[in-house]
Symmetry: C2
Subunit: 290 residues, 2 copies
């Protein structure tokens, strides 16, 4: 939207410095977009920044590996941290501000808040990571209040998270429009993920099956196959191809409610979470009725 030349990337690490920078933009009448990330940026994240730039004059990207959304035993410590490379990629993408707060700045002594979103958070990820969406909703509610953006972009790769955030922004009256960014994939269809670096060469070769199985599942639904039949078939293939399957399911695309029996009669979404060794992969596809 802006005709100004691209500015160099500024980096801040406190809510106060962030506010000062965003305030100045707002006073100048500029529209502000926000892309929250956990860093370890790949082309999927960059596509979200580019999407935000198409809607806004200024874009803030945050990098914060949020301890509150990892359970004990999950990969919080192992999660890749690559802040310098992240900053370089954001600068190259013409992002205007990098906000990388410390855990202490986000969760000071005495912190006692929990934000819970029901509705779309029920089932799927929550059955396997029960604290996950509380952690996500709490940190995103804080980030929205710190940044006060006009829009925020979230990737469809985390489809359930996208719906939870949309509910959060509406229910908490953030006044932020939530824009979904399409999944970015490797040539063989594997969805980009910061966790793909965990995969061995053999696991990487097998990982491609997740998007193949889910795409077949979505196409079967679009052809008019019965939901339960198509789901059982997809689940059997996933059980065969992976070291573990958390879920492979079709849900209502709008609410994530379970679908009625028979062929789909509304926009649906097929979602899967599977394991390769110690690595958990998720992916999803749209399935629209004919």
């Amino acid at each position: 939207m802006s005709d100004l030349p691209h500015l160099p990337l500024t980096a801040v690490d406190t809510p106060a410095d962030l506010r000062k920078a965003v305030m100045a933009w707002r006073r100048a009448g500029l529209k502000v977009g926000f892309v929250p990330t956990m860093g370890a940026l790949h082309d999927g994240h960059i596509s979200l920044v580019e999407l935000a730039l198409r809607h806004c004059d200024r874009v803030v990207a945050s990098v914060f590996v949020n301890p509150a959304q990892f359970a004990p035993g999950e990969d919080f410590d192992a999660y890749p941290r690559t802040l310098e490379t992240d900053a370089a990629k954001l600068a190259e993408a013409h992002c205007h501000l990098l906000y990388a707060p410390t855990a202490r700045a986000m969760y000071p002594e005495g912190f006692a808040l929990k934000v819970q979103v029901g509705g779309p958070s029920e089932g799927l990820e929550t059955d396997f990571r029960p604290h996950f969406f509380d952690g996500v909703a709490t940190v995103v509610a804080k980030l929205f209040n710190q940044v006060r953006p006009d829009i925020a972009v979230f990737g469809e790769k985390d489809y359930q998270q996208l719906l939870v955030i949309r509910r959060l922004a509406a229910d908490l009256d953030h006044g932020v429009a939530i824009i979904p960014g399409p999944v970015v994939r490797e040539d063989d269809g594997l969805a980009l993920s910061s966790r793909n670096v965990y995969l061995s060469q053999d696991e990487r070769a097998r990982a491609v099956r997740l998007n193949e199985i889910l795409k077949d599942f979505a196409q079967a639904l679009e052809r008019g196959d019965d939901v339960a039949t198509a789901q059982a078939r997809a689940l059997a293939k996933a059980a065969n191809g992976f070291d573990g399957v958390d879920y492979v399911e079709a849900r209502c695309a709008e609410t994530l409610a379970e679908l009625p029996a028979g062929p789909i009669d509304r926009p649906a979404r097929v979602l899967g979470a599977v394991w390769l060794g110690k690595t958990r992969l998720i992916d999803n596809f749209a399935a629209d009725p004919a």
Copy 2:
């Protein structure tokens, strides 16, 4: 702060109209204060509006009887609703904007949010009204995001609520300064409360005992009496004077943590909740070490 003449009271009932009004003030560089209420306004509420006016150029008061903070069987239906009188009192106090949203506007279809604050919400009111502070925190978080005030004023009459809101505003990064307003009392010391209208003539006469017992309790602590001894004495007097006692306790004034044994060694607060017939009264006093 403003030298402008007093403006007439404007009333709005949707978040969109509220935002438009506040936005215009903000663009004009005016400082905005907020006084959230459940209506049935008395001089205690008006003192909060006056306090806000001393800190700000423009003051918004909300009137919303929040269903989420009443449990089934509590007095949600009976709670006094006096919107016209409230508006007249606010206008007389030179409040600038009355925001009186409907329950539908605050909790639209599909609403799925809960904001929980731990820390100061533990014990006291929560032992007897377990859903109360979740309901308060959720609606206040929404109202803060709708109004986006610079400051908000909360009465010390609801002392535990004041500390919960202070924690909420800090933890959720609202950027709102929370200003406490002193308790306003009748000539005999009874704290003003919208629920005082429930009291029969006989109950009203007995109600004065609550502030007397708590004031004696606070004075005993200030004299250096042992906390447990003074508390037992106050509790015995309350059990004698009322139809039921939820709690009569001394706590740390800052955190509401329990106090160590012996005389107080830090600013304390004595708090009480008692019953007269079907009416529940609360009150509190400061007790500072010599």
